[in-house]
Amino acid sequence: DAGVTQSPTHLIKTRGQHVTLRCSPISGHKSVSWYQQVLGQGPQFIFQYYEKEERGRGNFPDRFSARQFPNYSSELNVNALLLGDSALYLCASSLYRGSLLSNSPLHFGNGTRLTVT
């Protein structure tokens, strides 16, 4: 079975531009989360979506938005890009909303490397 797939793998944008990152969860998974990993740091939670509704949001500005589609895939959008948005953006999927059910671990994709110049 395919794992979590993200596209594109690499992206270079200019300050002030807009970017859309895409994620396809593992088949059957209904929850998608987004994390930002700046070089040398651990991932930081951005959003979680479950059954097409936002279930959680991290401490990120309104320039960051996301949505989940009926097929459970997801998009992360970032407007007015800043140099500090350069990072690896990780998508993760799980069967259920949370870790309470031990058979619902969080599976991560390989990420999209965004460089803002």
């Binding site: 740091q41 479950y50 959680g56 949370g98 991560f108």
Partner: protein
């Protein structure tokens, strides 16, 4: 505020030696704790998780971790390291409403180098 501290930024061990990676957490409620591994250019792979019960948790690739509530620690161990274990290791706590929503807080990671 919830946080995770990994005191060691970089650890070097010889192949075959034992390994312990430290993790301390700050969280008010019962923590749900995880260890992930990240190889260069890759996403995160779950090694093991602790929800409740037995404080010694077994994971994949021969790793284990011990939850110590009194020390707020969740250290990762492996008795004999292989060269393929070289990677970055992240400890994380789930602060999502007692496990009902995923909202992981990660430490800054420990980079493991394995010498032949």
């Amino acid at each position: 505020a919830q946080s995770v501290t990994q005191p060691d930024i970089h650890i070097t061990v010889s192949e075959g030696a034992s390994l312990e990676l430290r993790c301390n957490y700050s969280y008010g409620a019962t923590p749900y704790l995880f260890w992930y591994v990240q190889s260069p250019g890759q996403g995160l792979q779950l090694l093991l998780k602790y929800f409740s019960g037995d404080t010694l948790v077994q994971g994949i690739k021969g790793f284990e971790a011990e939850f110590k509530r009194s020390q707020s620690s969740f250290n990762l161990r492996k008795p004999s390291v292989h060269w393929s274990d070289a990677a970055e290791y992240f400890c994380a706590v789930d602060r999502g409403s007692g496990g009902s929503n995923y909202k992981l807080t990660f430490g800054k990671g420990t980079l493991l180098t394995v010498n032949p």
